[in-house]
């Protein structure tokens, strides 16, 4: 394996020139295949930073994180961190790469039946008033969030157009970017800040009442009430809620 991964490694005694020529094919195929797989997984990131910078980053990733698992689908594991390090002055690069990677994972996340509005209403039909505070929601396994400082959805759309018109706007304040899968299609959205905080609390299994109280401590009673009032409907509409327990 070392002879495939390390281009400068000397051949063992007895391995001739013809063997060396064959080994070069494997070495070249290894690098080409994996860089191509990264580019297929991160096409917009590649487009944003340009081919030369992307190829250099991909080569760095393969050296620092040589593939260790059987599936090529996970070749991008850790690439976002590599980009954050290599493009420290351009933090939107790692934010965009995180979105592409998370969309990639959501694409093959486990299938679940999510609750629609009728399903949710049926689940809470026999709730007494005090039950609401203890309500715990299970969310789609595809749901993932991270804080971003740039309008990554805007950048994503601009890059999709492939007209060289993409631009990257800094957000006035950091926001949470969420990714999940609706049916078979991964989707994403910048979240309302208070609802994002509530969602983050409840995604860890915190009961609704406790999550609302934590939110109120963070954003005040009025804002917490607004977010709590809108959040459930939004999450149901987005197809995020899988089950309700109390």
């Amino acid at each position: 394996m070392a002879h495939v991964l390390e281009e400068g490694r000397a051949l063992p005694a007895g391995w001739d020139v013809r063997f060396a020529a064959g080994l070069d094919i494997y070495r070249n195929a290894y690098r080409t295949r994996l860089v191509d797989a990264l580019r297929e997984t991160f096409p917009r990131t590649a487009q944003w930073v340009g081919d030369d910078a992307f190829n250099a980053a991909a080569a760095h990733h393969l050296i620092t994180n040589p593939p260790a698992v059987w599936t090529l689908d996970l070749i991008g594991q850790g690439f976002t961190d590599v980009l954050a390090e290599l493009f420290a002055r351009d933090p939107e690069v790692a934010e965009l790469a995180w979105l592409e990677w998370t969309m990639h994972l959501a694409f093959v996340a486990a299938d679940v039946r999510v609750l629609d509005r009728d399903g949710f209403m049926a689940s809470v039909a026999d709730f007494a008033e005090e039950d609401w505070a203890g309500m715990v929601l299970a969310f789609s396994p595809s749901l993932a969030m991270r804080e971003v400082r740039h309008d990554i959805p805007h950048l994503w759309q601009g890059l999709k157009a492939e007209e060289g018109m993409a631009d990257c706007l800094a957000l006035e304040r950091p926001a949470m970017l969420a990714v999940w899968r609706e049916g078979l299609s991964p989707v994403f959205r910048l979240l309302d800040p208070a609802m994002a905080t509530l969602l983050a609390h409840m995604q860890t299994g915190t009961p609704y009442g406790e999550a609302c109280a934590m939110l109120a401590d963070q954003v005040g009673e009025e804002e917490a009430a607004r977010a709590a009032g809108a959040a459930l409907g939004q999450w149901i509409n987005d197809g995020l809620v899988v089950s309700v327990t109390r």
Binding site: G22, L23, Y30, W70, I75, F107, D111, L184
Partner: protein, 278 residues
């Protein structure tokens, strides 16, 4: 371990650009082959597509990551997910390659050649037996193409395959292009290779294109060349009932173009059999 009954037919690999052709229309082929690892996922579109294609066609599972040549034994996660997929799909059979792809630390994601020595044969046979036991079915293993061979080889590739088949009860997926490529790259006679194999164990045949040069490269990115067709025609009379397919993985053309190539494979097969009868 049960036997794998022969299945005679002509098929294609299911590739992403042709998903809609298979889902929305009636593709007149006898079976499809899918790359197992592309569907060894938790859920989402790949499994949805495979489930719907399976309703229309028999499916053969063809893996690229089992790495039966690895001295570190098989990857348990890979094997568990493969079994899950096989149980779900109920395939014609499950195949992989005679090669190694990984050590305990790294995965090359390439089908690397093995030294054909007794020690490697022991490793390969132990791994194949473990895989077949775990899956509860015999498997097919494909003869590799390779670009270098080891100076300390103790036997020919076909001898290795024959002994592997005898010891484990596995079957063979005969890739005609791989024989052609390796015969050129290593200077052996392709017919010696064919005659040295237990051809009654062959259940599937791959036909594919390669990139010409001083060393031929098994790229699957172009039509089958004349030399491979000629070798296939020589192989047909030696084979029993097999499932034959065109394997295309890069520069994938329209489905119509591949169906035309598959029709040609059918015609070559018929001519070769008639020639045998005459």
């Amino acid at each position: 371990m049960s036997d794998i009954a022969p299945f005679e037919g002509f098929g294609l690999g299911l590739r992403r650009p042709h998903y809609s052709d298979f889902l929305d229309g009636d593709v007149l082929i006898d079976f499809v082959e899918v790359i197992s690892e592309n569907y060894m996922v938790d859920g989402g579109k790949p499994l949805d597509v495979l489930t719907r294609v399976r309703e229309k066609h028999p499916v053969a599972l063809h893996g690229v990551s089992m790495s039966v040549g690895s001295a570190q034994r098989l990857d348990r996660d890979h094997l568990a997910k493969l079994k899950q997929l096989a149980d779900r799909v109920e395939p014609l059979w499950v195949s992989d390659h005679l090669c190694w792809t990984r050590t305990s630390a790294h995965n090359s994601h390439d089908l690397l050649p093995l030294p054909y020595i007794e020690e490697a044969l022991d490793v390969v046979c132990a791994n194949i037996s473990e895989a077949q036991d775990a899956l509860g079915r015999p498997m097919l293993f494909e003869n590799p193409s390779s670009y270098c061979s080891f100076p300390d080889n103790e036997m020919e590739e076909w001898e290795f395959l024959a002994e592997m088949t005898r010891r484990t009860g596995c079957y063979l997926l005969l890739d005609i292009n791989n024989i052609y490529v390796s015969a050129h790259n290593h200077g052996f006679d392709a017919m010696d290779y064919l005659r040295g194999l237990p051809l009654d164990r062959v259940r599937q045949v791959h036909l594919a294109g390669h990139t010409p040069g001083e060393i031929l490269i098994d790229t699957h990115d172009r039509p089958v060349c004349d030399g491979v067709w000629q070798l296939y025609a020589q192989a047909v009379p030696l084979l029993g009932e097999v499932a034959t397919m065109i394997e295309r993985d890069d520069d994938i053309p329209s489905l119509e173009e591949l169906l035309d190539e598959l029709d040609y494979a059918h015609a070559v097969t018929m001519r070769a059999r008639q020639g045998e009868a005459a």
